[in-house]
Point group: C2
Chain length 246, copies 2
């Protein structure tokens, strides 16, 4: 692997979080994994390479990144101690339609790896750009990933997209840690009915078909969307992902 | 505008359907607009340029495209008579991670415009690639769009992304017809409670802020997801978009 980390950095494991389509909750799952891991006492970090929108900075309530000191760039540290660098916070004006081609994104990601001082990190979660096209492929190639976690929603359509993500991981020779299904169902707050908005969960079948581990199933919850909008994802306290962090 | 349509083609209006992030239901809204228009007796078509996944072919139950005769390429015609061409049906193996850069997508879209015989079409809806980056911008530049419709979900985050889409349309000098909010709420099938999964709808405020028309608000409905998975979106019969088709 060509790009060396900053001399003062120490990162044990780098895990890429991928999805076929946008909007299935990949950035949310990245956030929840880092929050859970940090709560369990493992020093965690997030490298946000998802250029489709500022989901991560928004979920953690980050308005701007304070970046440099004499030794190098230091990441933003969240309320519970998670170190975060986001490509979305580099954009001058986030409402300016940006032209990010694959190589430009990969260069920024490489700089995040080689110029930022990540100190004493056990788990770094990388929020990858969605899909399996040009941009995610170049990001895959610019980081020393130890494994990937695939995020999917219950709909049938997505399982074909899951196959694309599996093919990509196999082509890059990176192990798949497992699969998380998000938006599995919604429980009515008044009468408790379990509503399967996007159809019956198929994650067990899809996981069995490809020999993957199901790391968790997260329901649709208004409180999750509200915490993301308020920048308070660190105060979410359900443990849908307890399997994942083992 | 440089690219001429096929000599035997006739298309009155071309409308681009855009969204900031993937997964807000842009392909679904494109499908419902074409279905509604066709029902009202206006001959409609869909040009699917969204490379992030086969949402359109899936929703209409299209397995393969029968393409050519001696005069040129003919689109697929759906059960209710909508003409459809999808970039997703051109891919050899949809599970192969594809590398679609901006120019490659734009070339295919230009071919769909110049080599396909679109006969007697009043409204063509173009399902644009999501976002405001390289790929959607090049597609914008390769079709004679008469206007765009922005699809958004209620979350606060998305309104910043809506601004990006507005900036893009203004830079390209294309009028914005209006904005559709999708996944506005979910009604519990047992007790009827209106659950605002992604927070209170903000579409009126966002529309007022930018002087846009609200063309419709579509709730989250399990029947919509089920019809998409079954390839039967043409049998959806609610009229959430009746404002839009005026
Ligand atoms: N389980 C869930 N319950 C409620 N809202 C969710 C859930 N998962 C995701 N969301 C919301 O949906 C939006 C899209 O999620 P995001 O993580 O940004 O998707 P992606 O990264 O796949 O594009 C976010 O704003 C988030 O708040
Ligand atoms: N209002 C809705 N109710 C239920 N399911 C929906 C709704 N809108 C979209 N979906 C489902 O969500 C998935 C994502 O929608 P899609 O139109 O593909 O999004 P986009 O084109 O923005 O990526 C689709 O499979 C669709 O069936
Ligand atoms: Zn209920």
């Amino acid at each position: 692997f060509s790009v060396k980390p900053h001399p003062l950095s120490s990162v044990d494991k780098v895990i890429g979080i991928v999805s076929g389509k946008g909007g299935v909750g990949k950035s949310l799952v990245t956030s929840l994994l880092a929050v859970e891991m940090q709560k369990q006492g493992h020093s965690s970090a997030i490298l946000d390479a998802d250029i489709t929108g500022p989901s991560i900075p928004k979920a953690f309530g980050i308005k701007e990144m304070v970046m440099t000191n004499e030794q190098g760039i230091t990441p933003f540290t969240s309320k519970t101690g998670i170190d975060i660098m986001s490509i979305n916070l580099l954009l001058e004006d986030p409402t300016d339609p940006i032209i990010w081609r694959g190589p430009a994104v990969a260069n920024v990601v490489k700089q995040f790896w080689s110029e930022v001082i990540w100190s004493g990190i056990e788990y770094m979660f990388v929020d990858m750009p969605p899909g399996t096209g040009d941009v995610p492929l170049t990001v895959f190639q610019s980081l020393p990933l130890n494994g990937i976690i695939i995020v999917t929603s219950p709909q049938e359509l997505v399982s074909m997209i899951v196959e694309k993500a599996i093919n990509m991981a196999e082509q890059m020779n990176i192990p798949i840690i497992g699969i998380v299904e998000n938006m599995s169902y919604l429980s009515c707050p008044d009468c408790g009915k379990k509503i399967e908005v996007f159809g019956k969960s198929k994650v067990e079948e899809v996981a069995a078909k490809y020999g993957l581990k199901v790391l968790g199933k997260i329901p649709l919850e208004p409180s999750i969307a509200a915490l993301c909008d308020a920048g308070e994802i660190e105060s979410y306290n359900k443990d849908w992902l307890k399997e994942a962090i083992k």
